[in-house]
Point group: C2
Chain length 371, copies 2
């Protein structure tokens, strides 16, 4: 059974509401079904798990949904457990227990945390990623220069800004070639590996076609915003044989994970589901910096990225407004199994992008006693 837990305003009629949901979201009706047919249909019927009052105002209940009712896609899962229900007044999805019988059909990350640690030889510190800024309108020579500077600063990975769509002046395949060349040069010079994740955009069909072509052109990573394109695009990318790291950006998810009493708990939507669908690196707002997610919620998201599961752990990216001054706190709270991901702090450094990247990298090494 897939068990979903919900919070709603407490009411003495909560058991009736839960029972109506358990039937309504599975078998549609029950009492007027012939007893012989009931026997056959029982396997499709939802059941109430528990109903409880958690405070004077808040009630909580759980529903068990038969696994066979739900196709192994995130879309099908969300349509059943929080499709129509999402529109049913004040109701929030706060828990989702997915049995191996369901999760076994999902690809999970191509590399995940263990694969990325092995591939990049980074074992005793967080990864460090630099975000391109000012990409809109940038020419290829500007892209190249900024890429060189970020690399020279020693960061592991470099990704596009998620708002970078208009790339006529620095087209995707040309950026990939420049990045490939500069990464190879650095590898030869210093032994440090890295990758560049361009922003993978378009309709679902365009995204899949572009990803295939880009990998042929030497792409070794991608940035995707799966909350606008649908998380199942990650499943498709994995099934298409895309084995390079995919970074999931949280764009657009804010409205859905916003505080009670609506929407979905962030640890489900930013933690559990992108890991299952196939992201390797999952970005979310850190408790510090410019977006400031509630600390407990951010830690819960992180926990979902590294808790035991059938699919590999993913690299957790508590992001937005990260700068060197926050790194000690970030590592104290989240540990080493994260990516320190920064953009404005790097490019806005008074001594330039290379210096900004180096300060970030050195601070991470220092905190991790690598210096």
């Amino acid at each position: 059974m897939i068990t979903a837990t919900y919070e709603v305003p407490w009411s003495e009629h909560l058991m009736e509401r839960a029972e109506s949901i358990a039937i309504g979201m599975t078998i549609g009706a029950w009492d007027d079904v012939h007893p012989l047919r009931q026997k056959e249909l029982r396997a499709f019927r939802g059941e109430v798990g528990f109903v409880t009052q958690v405070s004077a105002e808040v009630g909580r209940f759980s529903i068990h949904y038969p696994v066979q009712n739900i196709k192994p896609t995130i879309g099908s899962l969300l349509t059943v457990v929080f499709g129509k229900l999402s529109l049913d007044g004040a109701i929030r999805l706060v828990g989702l227990d997915l049995p191996a019988e369901f999760t076994q059909h999902f690809p999970g990350p191509a590399l995940g945390l263990p694969g990325l640690r092995a591939k990049f030889g980074v074992h005793h510190r967080p990864f460090v990623m630099s975000i391109f800024k000012r990409e809109n309108g940038a020419r290829l020579d500007e892209f190249t220069e900024a890429f060189e500077q970020q690399l020279a600063g020693g960061v592991d990975w470099i990704k596009d800004d998620e708002i970078f769509f208009h790339d006529d002046n620095a087209p995707l395949f040309e950026r990939i070639q420049v990045a490939r060349k500069l990464l190879d040069e650095r590898l030869e010079r210093t032994g440090q590996k890295g990758f560049y994740a361009p922003n993978l955009v378009g309709t679902p069909k365009e995204i899949l076609g572009t990803a295939r072509a880009a990998v042929e052109q030497g792409a070794d990573g991608f940035l995707v915003s799966p909350y606008v394109v649908g998380l199942d695009i990650l499943i498709d990318l994995r099934r298409e044989g895309i084995e390079v790291p995919i970074i999931a950006h949280p764009a657009f998810v804010g409205g859905t994970i916003a505080p009670h009493p609506y929407g979905i708990a962030p640890d489900i939507l930013l933690g559990q589901l992108p890991r299952l669908a196939g992201a390797d690196i999952v970005l979310f707002p850190s408790p510090y910096g410019s977006l400031g997610m509630n600390r407990n919620l951010a830690l819960a998201v992180h926990q979902r990225h590294i808790e035991p599961s059938r699919v590999p752990e993913v690299v957790s990216g508590p992001s937005a407004g990260i700068h060197a001054g926050l790194i000690a706190q970030l590592i104290e709270d989240f540990g080493y199994d994260i990516v320190v991901n920064a953009g404005s702090a790097i490019h806005g450094h008074p001594h330039g992008t290379e210096a900004g990247a180096r300060v970030l990298m050195d601070t991470v090494r220092e905190v991790c006693h690598e210096l």
Copy 2:
């Protein structure tokens, strides 16, 4: 320019915040860009439209985004205008002005309201659609019987339940064949046209493949839940040459359109965007019945479906818990350019599904003086 309007808690520093967003979500940085380069980059730079205080607590501001920064997909649009911003505390997207320069790249509905009126010969009343219920676990003979009864009751269109995924006992292509045959028989007997919209499910790639194959098998309509799969799947379906009516189901959107101060106004997400992307019929919670969207918000969604625009009007489906007793009110509030869409009221009728469908159909005709 694409103009997005936001509501946030009022602050005396709102102009600064708006300016920081206008730069941050477009060009990244401005003041430290060389004046000569500034000249070149000005075309990529966002601008603040207005900043105003609407009440003691609420401020409103607008940002103009250059059209060229945004690719013509819903995903790209939402990533720029409400991607990272959706995570920026209490902020709600309340308006979105899209110029023809942008919307011209979108397919819009295949048929829309005018095309559906012409195709089905229904001109002076709302369309009537019946929703399958109790589909999980149903056998093909049960599907056939329920389909016959709904048709016999005289409804125009019949659609799957959006939670219907496990169709081993009544597979998609077999359902389509049954529906095709029964619809053709009724057309010959009574002259009344109709269509059947099966639930189109899977990953984006699976959805596109299934849609093509299903149309070859005689499918003449589809139900899609675009808020879990991403609205751009509609663009892909249109581009694939799928010209049958597509019904957009609001599953999962509740968390994002929930009341202030987060998320997105429902008229944007359930009104403006699915019409642009390519839905023909857009379902949303009516102010009555079982979900009960705020009446003004539901009317605003409807208005978006029929207001003048570059793409055809779509059929508006104020839904959920609709029964005969609500039809007069529904038509008084929303007019004729809607689909009256019901499920439980039809199948739960004491004299059976056919009687339930007939009561609904007769009531619509009666209210519209067709009886």
